[in-house]
């Protein structure tokens, strides 16, 4: 049976709550960062509500309307129409959902691979540590975009494979980060106490070390979201990610290459969507980094 949080637990997380409040306060002081935070929430809202707010729902996936192809922006079609007469605005709005989903899934998967490996390496030490970290080093020595391109090319082009490819290219960063944290935990009092009462190693790693080292990794992961969205769009642009008729931004820019000289709106709006999304995520990440780093922290 589970009881309510005991008072001691509440007392224990109190400093963390205070830390959180302080962080939020500091973020709030930087106007640019705060605008970015609000925009991120807005984007998430758009992604969730996408099916409700798109004006031409049938244009999102396969519906075509050849009579209205390549129309410039107007009252009916805010962002104009594409070569099949589909409403670009509707497709860009829907693309928000696809981009955020892909990015979250890719980072989540990368964490799922990277965190256990790093925690085990750091907490165990010795040969295990050596083997895991050398493998990590090899993956780190690929330029990330190249590795993602390679894997996506070999797995075959699809959005799921692009997501997998990004996860494979990203996990080593988290492994390295959490390993460093885990090493410093290894000889801490509470870990030694757990070991002394005979807690199994597995349980020490995932019950004690991971929960105490995960915070910086989560922060890093949220900072990476911008870069991951950009990479996913780049893969789709190369034809290695989403396939038509998916309304994915990178793919839309890629298709627009055949038409954009006479239909500027076709490539401008999906690209702008990528830019704004990546920008606000990066601004939030930048702001977080400045606030969380004690050297640049300004009270």
């Amino acid at each position: 049976m589970r009881k309510l949080l005991p008072v001691e637990t509440f007392e224990a997380i109190k400093p963390r709550l205070k830390e959180f409040k302080l962080t939020f306060y500091l973020l709030n002081r930087n106007r640019l960062t705060m605008i970015a935070v609000i925009t991120v929430f807005l984007l998430v809202l758009i992604a969730i509500l996408a099916p409700l707010i798109v004006p031409y729902k049938e244009h999102v996936i396969s519906g075509t309307n050849p009579q209205e192809k390549l129309l410039p922006p107007s009252q009916e079609h805010l962002f104009g129409t594409d070569e099949l007469g589909r409403d670009i605005f509707s497709r860009v709005i829907y693309g928000t959902r696809i981009s955020l989903e892909t990015a979250l899934a890719a980072v989540g998967l990368a964490l799922l691979i990277g965190v256990p490996l790093g925690a085990i390496a750091g907490a165990t030490g010795g040969v295990v540590d050596e083997v895991i970290m050398r493998i990590t080093d090899i993956f780190l020595s690929f330029p990330p975009l190249l590795l993602a391109i390679l894997i996506a090319a070999f797995l075959g082009p699809s959005l799921t494979n692009a997501m997998l490819a990004i996860a494979v290219a990203w996990w080593p960063w988290y492994t390295r980060l959490i390993r460093g944290q885990a090493v410093s935990m290894r000889e801490r009092q509470f870990v030694r106490a757990a070991r002394a009462i005979g807690t199994p190693h597995f349980k020490i790693v995932f019950g004690h070390i991971v929960p105490n080292t995960i915070a910086p990794v989560i922060v890093q992961a949220s900072m990476d979201l911008g870069g991951v969205i950009l990479t996913a769009a780049s893969l789709s642009f190369l034809g290695l990610g989403a396939q038509p008729p998916t309304p994915e931004w990178g793919l839309m820019v890629s298709t627009s290459r055949n038409y954009f000289l006479n239909a500027w709106w076709y490539s401008i709006f999906p690209g702008l969507a990528i830019f704004i999304t990546v920008l606000v995520f990066n601004l939030v990440g930048d702001g977080l980094r400045e606030v969380l780093d004690p050297r640049t922290r300004k009270y």
């Binding site: 640019l32 690929f142 330029p143 190369l238 490539s267 830019f275 995520f281 640049t296």
Partner: protein, 347 residues
């Protein structure tokens, strides 16, 4: 102190050798990982080699010729052995040695990347300095926004955007390629080093140089955007840290002009991190050109790998990958050496 400097030399050499050895191991790891990846793909290289209308016997013969009938680890061993003699195998599509094809495509990419990096340094550095000087003023905010913006831009989109403005709307710059078609037809294109801009300049062929320069501008700007943002940010933060040091206050209290303090005294000590990021960014830029070259029909390894990927030409893909990883490792090493050159760093 002179004695400290003498003592440092052998240490430095040892450091470099150690890092080199590590680099070789990393490259070996990259080769193995890439090799395994190319082999788990369900594709038939032998059939690709002989073409679509081959008999089963011909495919069998090609299998033997390419060594594909051997066990995987022997194939890997042969590949690595050949690698040491600079043999990367032959392209499945063109049947040309991959190393020769790389030699043809590399100069265009290297020229694009290096020249853009220089441009990035020339723009990013002053931007960072001014931003640090005007900290928290509108110029600083603009610069921060610009530098975060530059790393958030989808470069492939920027390329299209620039083409739209300067080719379609203003009509002042060419759409893509390295040279205009009529120039290629009517002039003897010089070939000394393979770097087109450099070659036309040393042979004094100004018509070609001008045309090549015009073709360089748009891809050059597109490639340079990312490192500009990076350099500006790095310079700003490094400079801000250093401007708080005592020796800067001392210099100021001597009554030295602010410009001397900023551009000479402070900037010199903040260059280390800036050069480091710039070096590291070359590796990133290199893979970024894969996206940009496709847009500008730039005849470099980016265009090469793009076509190789579509046809799953795995010797070609491996060739480019190994080159990119090699460049990455070497650039990392250079960055580490630059850091180590700083006498404050303990080896």
């Amino acid at each position: 102190m002179p004695s400290a400097r003498v003592e440092r030399k052998p240490k430095m050499l040892k450091f470099i050798l150690k890092r080199l050895a590590l680099g070789v191991l990393v490259i070996l790891g990259v080769v193995i990982v890439t090799f395994i990846m190319t082999r788990v793909v369900p594709s038939n290289p032998a059939a690709q080699w002989v073409g679509p209308r081959a008999t089963p016997e011909q495919i069998q013969a090609a299998k033997r010729e390419l060594g594909l009938d051997q066990p995987l680890y022997i194939q890997l061993g042969i590949y690595i052995k050949n690698l040491f003699t600079g043999n990367l195998g032959k392209s499945l599509k063109t049947h040309q040695p991959v190393i020769e094809e790389l030699k043809n495509y590399l100069p265009a990419t290297i020229e694009l990347v290096l020249l853009s990096t220089v441009i990035a340094a020339l723009i990013g550095l002053p931007l960072g300095v001014i931003s640090a000087k005007k900290k928290d003023r509108w110029l600083d905010h603009f610069s921060r926004f610009f530098s975060v913006g530059a790393v958030s831009l989808p470069t492939f989109w920027v390329g299209l955007f620039l083409q739209l403005i300067f080719y379609r709307w203003l009509g002042v710059l060419p759409l893509g390629g390295e040279l205009s078609t009529n120039i290629k037809l009517f002039y003897q294109v010089p070939h000394v080093t393979g770097f087109l801009l450099l070659d036309s300049l040393i042979t004094g062929n100004m018509v070609i140089f001008k045309d090549a320069l015009l073709h360089f501008i748009l891809p050059g700007i597109t490639v340079a955007l990312y490192p500009i943002g990076l350099v500006a940010r790095m310079t700003r933060s490094a400079l801000l840290e250093i401007l708080g040091e005592d020796y800067i206050r001392a210099a100021r209290s001597y009554g030295l002009p602010e410009s001397t303090v900023l551009w000479s005294y402070a900037l010199k000590n903040s260059l280390g991190p800036t050069i480091t990021v710039l070096t590291l960014s070359i590796g990133y830029t290199l893979t970024n050109t894969f996206l940009i070259e496709a847009i500008f029909s730039w005849p470099g390894i980016g265009s090469y790998i793009a076509t190789s990927i579509l046809s799953l030409d795995y010797p070609a893909i491996m060739g480019v990958t190994i080159f990119a990883a090699l460049a990455y490792v070497v650039l990392n090493l250079i960055a580490d050496i630059i850091i180590a050159l700083d006498p404050r760093v303990r080896l």
